[in-house]
């Protein structure tokens, strides 16, 4: 009986020490990966590698499962966009000449540029929240509220949570996202763009008298001091007008989804 007791107690002791050792190793690795600079770099690189592979496979899967009709519709849509762009190009040439002159004048008066930090997407939320995790945090000067854009100047989200070596970015299509914006149509209309369930965003409380058109460009208005003006949010895709209502609302389609980019720029409007 006593031999049995000794055996059981030895087994329990061994089990407890094995468990303790397992927990210790896990905690040490977790601390190394989240607190040490080199650990966070290894973590960031491995997560970036995995998310790149995952995104590539996801795109392949998406391409296989997209129906032929969808592709035809997409081609027609793109063709009409190309013809619109051709017209815009002519306008752009004339405008660019004007802009060059203004730029020279502006350069004399003040030289303002935003501080930008390049970051990589290392995780993506697919649940109710539309968010991404980037590999730069408070150690690189990232703080809450800063705009996150992709290289072509399209705003994709706002930094909503900052850790030492990583940050959470709430995408503009997220239901909790709201960004001061302006519609560049016949007149400049200012409002708040809010995310909602699904792919589109909405802008409410636009007075009935304002003339809006589908495909008007929506940009950031600059009313939020952390988000500079002029970053493209998307295009007006639908105008909801009710004659009996005081206001009209528009649905906005973003030009990029979170699957379309893996590198972002965090814009800090601090004057350098």
């Amino acid at each position: 009986m006593s031999v049995l007791n000794i055996k059981i107690s030895q087994k329990t002791k061994r089990g407890a020490s094995s468990l303790g050792f397992f927990i210790l190793i896990v905690l040490v690795i977790l601390l190394m990966l989240t607190r040490l600079n080199i650990g966070s770099k290894i973590l960031g690189s491995s997560q970036f590698g995995l998310i790149t592979t995952g995104t590539y496979i996801s795109k392949m899967f998406q391409r296989i499962t997209t129906s032929e009709d969808d592709l035809h519709n997409k081609i027609e849509e793109l063709q009409s966009q190309v013809s619109d762009l051709m017209l815009e190009r002519v306008e752009n040439v004339l405008l660019r000449q004007h802009l060059n002159e203004l730029e020279y004048l502006l350069a004399y008066s003040e030289q303002i540029s935003y501080k930008s930090t390049a970051a990589r997407v290392i995780a993506r939320s697919h649940e109710s929240r539309e968010s991404i995790l980037i590999d730069k945090g408070s150690n690189e000067g990232i703080r809450e509220g800063l705009a996150v854009v992709i290289e072509s100047g399209h705003i994709v989200g706002v930094v909503s949570e900052v850790k030492s070596f990583s940050s959470v970015v709430t995408l503009i299509s997220d239901i909790q996202s709201s960004i001061p914006a302006a519609i560049l149509g016949d007149s400049k209309t200012i409002g708040i763009v809010e995310g909602q369930k699904g792919y589109l965003m909405k802008m409410e409380f636009i007075p009935q008298g304002v003339e809006l058109n589908v495909n008007d460009v929506v940009v950031t208005s600059g009313l939020d001091e952390e988000i500079p003006s002029g970053f493209i949010i998307g295009l007006v895709s639908e105008i909801i007008k009710d004659e009996t209502a005081l206001f009209q609302q528009v649905m906005i389609e973003a030009l990029y989804t979170s699957d379309d980019f893996l590198n972002v720029l965090v814009i800090d409007p601090v004057i350098e």
């Binding site: 927990i23 491995s46 995995l50 996801s58 995780a123 929240r129």
Partner: protein, 165 residues
């Protein structure tokens, strides 16, 4: 020591694989709970104590490395109920016991996670529908995991000349 070290590395790698690779996949592939499946395998084929630690630490670690909307309390509940089921009800090391354990653990996880919505009367059928793919993945994943684990155990027994009882 080798076992604990391998288990710890498996834990970290499976978390990174879950939050960065699987979550980036297109629906319904992003519903595969790979880290959860490996945890159930550890609970059943390995030691229940390690299984408890696996799920409890997961509740915190998944939130550090990525996005996980599940409640930490659901992981803690799954850890203890899973250990109880693994030692009392599904102690048999067959694939049926493993599948039973995995399905019950997932159901506990889903139910505990639904408590806030249940209390607010805001739960809809869509909530449970969203776990359909996870349930199928757990059934398939555990079967494949069982085959891998059994072959791995045989390989280790032959490699290190471990005598069978």
């Amino acid at each position: 020591m080798f076992y604990e070290l391998s288990l710890a590395l498996l834990f970290i790698l499976s978390i990174l694989f879950q939050v960065s690779f699987i979550d980036a996949l297109y629906e319904p592939l992003n519903a595969i709970p790979a880290h959860f499946i490996i945890g159930v395998l550890v609970m059943h084929r390995g030691d229940a104590l390690h299984g408890i630690a696996w799920f409890i630490i997961s509740g915190f670690a998944l939130k550090i490395f990525g996005f996980d909307s599940a409640l930490t309390i659901s992981y803690i509940a799954v850890a203890f109920i899973g250990a109880l089921l693994a030692t009392r009800m599904f102690a048999n090391r067959s694939v049926y016991a493993l599948e039973g354990l995995g399905i019950l653990m997932l159901l506990v996880f889903i139910l505990v996670n639904a408590i806030p919505e249940l209390l607010n009367y805001s739960i809809t059928a869509d909530y449970f529908y969203s776990y359909n793919h996870a349930l199928i993945s757990v059934i398939v994943g555990l079967y494949l995991g069982f085959l891998v684990a059994r072959n791995l155990e045989h390989l280790i027994e032959n490699l290190f000349l471990i005598k069978k009882r």
